[in-house]
Each structure stands twice: as structure tokens, then as C-alpha cells.
């Protein structure tokens, strides 16, 4: 279980995340939705133990996140982050060197599914290929928590399907998956819950099927409803 208790992060006086409290449970895929710059990445980085909150804390299975929790928490950033000298194969070796839960067989399988050669140089990958390698190497870990920051950013339709397939295939009963996006429709059918973030605040957590069943609206409708009014509120 991943829990956030009143987490706030300020950068040079600017508040990136403002007292966010929530609880993510294993066995579910969560979407983290909100416009660019709303604080999704900052919260994820704190949950991944990469940066420390200004106040509040995040706990994974009742332990504060940090160096230890990185063994179980797999984080993938939006931007490409592999070293220039690496090939796709080197990336796998790097993960194998640093993460006990990494499986080279799973990585190989996923590369094959996605038609990627291990000899390809990272520097020469197209953005779609890079997105696929990042997801493959992250999901080839048998981690307990996966956090993928904008995995569908700037990639074509086919690569998008492959990335979503990889996510679906590796979700499990004992795993928490958190996927952020500023495009709601892309994730709607794949996630159980959607976490809406706006201007550093948590707006709410909604269950996709429940919204349809009880309110007769899709996640995208809900998003429009909430962010439309938020924007108007901001203008006043």
C-alpha cells in the first residue's frame, strides 16, 4: 500500500504539490490526470524517493519511502534518461546490475513483442521506440509499485497500443500501477481509478466503471466537468 499524508513540496517559494493525502492499493491501475504542471511528476518523484517533501510524508507498506523502497518501486520518467553510450541491450544489463527484481527474460520477450533489437543505440531511437524501451525495461522488473510518468507522450498510435498492452500484461493482484497523463481518453479503458490533480491539489479519486454506472458519464466527461469549472474558478 502506498500512502501519502499531507504531502507538500515547495520549490523556491512556488508550491508544486499542496497537502496531498491519498492511498493507493495493490491490484489496481491508477491514472494520474491533470494538466501539465499540475504537480503529477513532483508527487511521483517524491513517492519514488527521488526528492524529499517539504512537509508531510509518503509511506510504502508503513515505511517512509527512500533508498530502501526504491528496491520495490519502479519509476519511469517522461524524458529519455539512458546514457548516450548505451544500446538497448546495455539498458537491460544496467537494470539487471542494479535491481534484484529485474528479469532479462521478460525484457527480451517484451523487446521481441515490440520489434526492438538489442543492438540499437539509445541515441538513435525514435521517440516511439524510446518510449517502448523505457516501458519494457521498467515493466521487466517484478516491482510492487510501478509509476510511469506520461508513458504515452508524443508517440504514435501503434506504439501507444504496444505500451498499453505491456502495462495491462504486467499489472497483477499484488501490484500498484500508477500512470500519469494529460490526455484522459487514452487511459480511460485501462485504469480502475483516476486521480485528478489540479494546481498542486488533489481534486478527487474516481472509479471509472462506477462513474459510468452511477452517473452515466465517462472519465473524459468528468474531467471536462471538473477542469472546465476549475479553469473558470481560476479566472475569477
Amino acid at each position: 500500500m502506498l500512502e501519502s499524508f499531507g504531502v507538500t513540496k515547495k520549490f523556491l517559494g512556488k508550491t508544486a504539490v499542496d497537502s496531498i493525502s491519498m492511498k493507493l492499493e495493490p491490484g489496481h491501475i491508477y491514472a494520474m490526470l491533470g494538466p501539465n504542471g499540475s504537480g503529477k511528476t513532483t508527487w511521483m518523484k517524491m513517492a519514488a524517493g527521488l526528492i524529499k517533501p517539504t512537509s508531510g510524508f509518503i509511506k510504502y507498506n508503513n515505511e517512509s519511502v527512500g533508498v530502501e523502497s526504491r528496491k520495490h518501486v519502479a519509476y519511469m520518467s517522461t524524458e529519455p534518461f539512458f546514457y548516450d553510450w548505451m544500446t538497448v541491450g546495455d539498458v537491460g544489463k544496467y537494470y539487471q546490475d542494479f535491481f534484484e527484481d529485474f528479469s532479462m527474460e521478460v525484457y527480451d520477450e517484451m523487446l521481441q513483442e515490440m520489434n526492438l533489437e538489442k543492438t540499437l543505440k539509445c541515441k538513435e531511437l525514435s521517440s516511439g521506440m524510446m518510449a517502448k524501451v523505457k516501458v519494457a525495461v521498467t515493466m521487466a522488473r517484478d516491482a510492487k509499485v510501478y509509476m510511469l510518468d506520461e508513458p504515452l507522450n508524443g508517440i504514435d498510435l501503434l506504439a501507444r497500443d504496444e505500451v498499453l498492452n505491456a502495462i495491462i500484461r504486467h499489472a497483477g493482484e499484488d501490484k500498484i500501477l500508477l500512470v500519469s497523463s494529460h490526455l484522459v481518453e487514452e487511459l480511460e479503458s485501462v485504469v480502475d481509478y483516476a486521480i485528478f490533480i489540479s494546481n498542486a491539489h488533489l481534486v478527487g479519486i474516481y472509479e471509472v466503471e462506477e462513474l459510468r454506472q452511477n452517473e452515466g458519464v465517462s472519465l473524459a466527461d468528468k474531467y471536462r466537468g471538473i477542469y472546465g469549472s476549475v479553469e473558470m474558478g481560476g479566472a475569477c
Binding site: 520549490f11 523556491l12 518523484k45 519514488a48 527521488l50 526528492i51 524529499k52 533508498v67 530502501e68 526504491r70 528496491k71 519509476y75 520518467s77 524524458e79 529519455p80 534518461f81 539512458f82 546514457y83 553510450w85 544496467y94 546490475d97 542494479f98 535491481f99
Partner: protein
């Protein structure tokens, strides 16, 4: 730790290979010159070797500083900080790898220099007079050239360089954390670097100035002093990384 160091080496081996190749090149010319009795040739190759030693140590150290800067300021920072390793380990691997490389290549150059000098002494007996002169130059002393004082003086220089690299690490980390978002942070961290270096130099002279320059006790205490300072700066830097760094 070993794995971290392995990748630190992987990032810098090209630069090290380049320095090594250059050294091998001049050394071959030197040997060829000595055995073919071509004084001009071995004379100029010595200039080449000295040049390579100074530039090589400098390049290896500066390149390590550049890598640290890249590792904490670019997106590649995830590669290090997403792994289950603390800042102390991550920086420790860098200090050991870069400091170790400078130290090892320093020792390598010292050893090579001593071997080459021995070869010259065996080959040209009248060179001893010249060496005495070298002894006067490096130690400011009328004692004659001894291999041990030469080795200690060189080691002293190499270790002071390792210590300066640690100060530079601190400056780079301060630049990336406390001064982040400041437009002239690069300049400020350079100023910080200079100020720290000067302060430590003053401290050094106050503490150890009593010893005669380049006497053996002075050299030994110098080496201890630099190792101690490198350790202190390592801890300060790692602490800042651990608490203030946003990757």
C-alpha cells in the same frame, strides 16, 4: 558499490584510454631515442611525457567533475538516483573512481618517470649531475635527488589534486541545489570553489607551515591533511545531495 564504480569507469574510460595511448606513444619514442642514442629524440619525448602527465591528470579529474555535473543536472540523473543507492554511496563511488583513477594514474606516471630516470642513469653516467639540479628544483633544497623524495613530492601533488576534485564536487553540488534557479549560479559556484580552496590553503600553511618545505615529515603530514580534507568535503557534499538535490 562495485557496480556503481563499474559504471563510473564506463563513463570515463575513453578519456583514460586516450591519456594512456598518448603516454605509450611518447614512452615508445623515448625508448627508441635512448636505445638509438638519439638525444634530441628522447629529450623531446621527455617534454611530451611531462606534458602528458600534467594534462592527463588534469583531464581525468576535470572530466570526472564534468560527469558529476551531467549526472545531477541532466535527465540522466534518474539512472543513478532511481537505483536503491544512497547519495553517500553514489558520490562515494564517484570519489573513489575518479580520485582512485587520478591516484592510480599518478602512481603510474611516478613509477614510469622513476624507471625512465633509472634507465637514463644507467645509460648515461653523467646524467647524475643533471638530476641533482632537478633535486634542487623540486625540493628547493641542496640535498641531492633521491627517488623516495621524488616519489613523495609527486604523490603530494597528486593527492592535492584529488582533494581539489572533492572541492569541485562540492561546488558542483552547491550549484545544482542551493543555487538552483540562480542565473549566475555557475559563476557563484566557481567563486565558492576558489574561496574554499584559498581558505584551506591558509589553514594548511598555518598548521603545517612550521615544517621545512618538502622535508619528509612535511610531505607525510601533507598527504594525511589532503586525505582528511577530501573525506570532510565528501561528507558535506553527500549530505547536501541527500537532503537538497532534486533530480
Amino acid at each position: 558499490m562495485g557496480t556503481l564504480m563499474k559504471y563510473e569507469f564506463r563513463k570515463t574510460w575513453k578519456m583514460k584510454g586516450f591519456v594512456l595511448c598518448l603516454t605509450a606513444f611518447f614512452e615508445l619514442i623515448f625508448l627508441f631515442g635512448v636505445f638509438s642514442d638519439n638525444e634530441d629524440l628522447w629529450g623531446s619525448s621527455i617534454v611530451g611525457l611531462i606534458f602528458t602527465t600534467i594534462c592527463g591528470l588534469f583531464l581525468i579529474g576535470v572530466y570526472g567533475i564534468h560527469i558529476l555535473s551531467k549526472d545531477i543536472n541532466s535527465k540522466q540523473s534518474y539512472m543513478l538516483f532511481m537505483t536503491p543507492n544512497s547519495s553517500y554511496k553514489i558520490l562515494g563511488a564517484k570519489v573513489l573512481e575518479n580520485g582512485g583513477s587520478v591516484l592510480l594514474s599518478g602512481l603510474f606516471f611516478i613509477l614510469l618517470a622513476i624507471l625512465d630516470i633509472m634507465l637514463l642513469v644507467v645509460r648515461y653516467e653523467d646524467i647524475q649531475g643533471m638530476l641533482d639540479l632537478v633535486g634542487v628544483i623540486i625540493s628547493g633544497d641542496t640535498e641531492e635527488f633521491t627517488y623516495s623524495s621524488f616519489a613523495m613530492a609527486s604523490l603530494d601533488v597528486v593527492l592535492s589534486w584529488v582533494y581539489l576534485i572533492c572541492v569541485a564536487y562540492l561546488a558542483v553540488v552547491i550549484c545544482a541545489t542551493l543555487l538552483k534557479g540562480n542565473r549566475i549560479n555557475g559563476l557563484l559556484s566557481f567563486v565558492a570553489f576558489i574561496i574554499i580552496a584559498i581558505l584551506v590553503d591558509n589553514l594548511h600553511d598555518t598548521l603545517l607551515g612550521a615544517f621545512y618545505v618538502y622535508s619528509m615529515p612535511r610531505l607525510v603530514s601533507n598527504i594525511g591533511f589532503y586525505l582528511f580534507l577530501s573525506g570532510i568535503f565528501y561528507f558535506i557534499t553527500a549530505w547536501i545531495m541527500d537532503n537538497k538535490l532534486s533530480v
